[in-house]
Symmetry: C2
Subunit: 200 residues, 2 copies
Amino acid sequence: MTYRLYQMADSGNCYKIRLLMSQLALPLETVEIDITRGESRTKEFLAINPNGKVPTFEIAPGQYLAESNAILWYLARQTNYLPTDAYAQALVMQWFGFEQYSHEPNIATARYWIKIINAANDYEQELISKHAAGYKALDVMERHLGLNDFFVNDYSVADIALFAYTHVCHEGGFTLSGYPAIRQWIERVRDQPGFIDINA
Amino acid sequence: MTYRLYQMADSGNCYKIRLLMSQLALPLETVEIDITRGESRTKEFLAINPNGKVPTFEIAPGQYLAESNAILWYLARQTNYLPTDAYAQALVMQWFGFEQYSHEPNIATARYWIKIINAANDYEQELISKHAAGYKALDVMERHLGLNDFFVNDYSVADIALFAYTHVCHEGGFTLSGYPAIRQWIERVRDQPGFIDINA
């Protein structure tokens, strides 16, 4: 069967999977789930992902996988998008952890409030702390990218994981004006073969 | 060299590493970092982990790895604590993602405010939302453990990742009284060879 992605197209976590699938030149079927209308909390959806989140990925009939970075890892193994050395693989997972703990909850959540549900006014106070913590994560990235072209060795799923929400962080009220290394890395990612835009 | 763990002993994320190292019967040197006194934000510490967090793990002189679940993965590969099948490995990573995104930020953070920094009164409002979100994560675990003895196949690093903060969730104001499957799983984890307590 063709891999099937349950997604909300605007979500950076879902875009990660589309981007890698494009770079692997694999066919993909998408099913749109509008999380703002509760479509990830229906009985049917909870049967395929009890945590009620997108992306959820069907790799074989009835065989599901959740969590964007786990899906990236599954698809990238034995390809050029995952390093083979054990320490380098562990560093990819380190950046996955950084992305889901220190980066996404701040940068993606600010974008969700501002762009996806158009509710910046309701989250004025929360946005102040999300912006502070998000810039801390961008500082860590800037420091690394000042010394390295990519996150681990060459371009890998670690870059895909971090690119997804970083390159649209302005939609969450962030500016990359003080982050030249990140801006140059964004261009390097855009130059990769098979790159597709989040809106593609 | 002996592996070296930069840790705060009370941290569940650091305990994960000690527990697996005990089960692998590997020697471990620990260096105590008091994050409540800024010791993870010194210039020296930021040189080994620019994200300023524990655990940080030294696997060879000058070679560091951060993020608890990345360290678990690195140590568990080619042992019985990580399944070999690609889909099962991806499910371990799925639970890693769940733990760091949906579980730890709620359950560990509540414990941090209440037990570690003794500031429950300062976080009264925040604790309400942390408890609501934490119970949602426990619901997902209970549902899975009602049907399965462990998170992926047999006991693995997925169980270690989720055990660390679940078994001390009462220290964050949670009760497992409505979660019989989780309570039984906690006993199954305690029965594993090489098990050590968080206070050991």
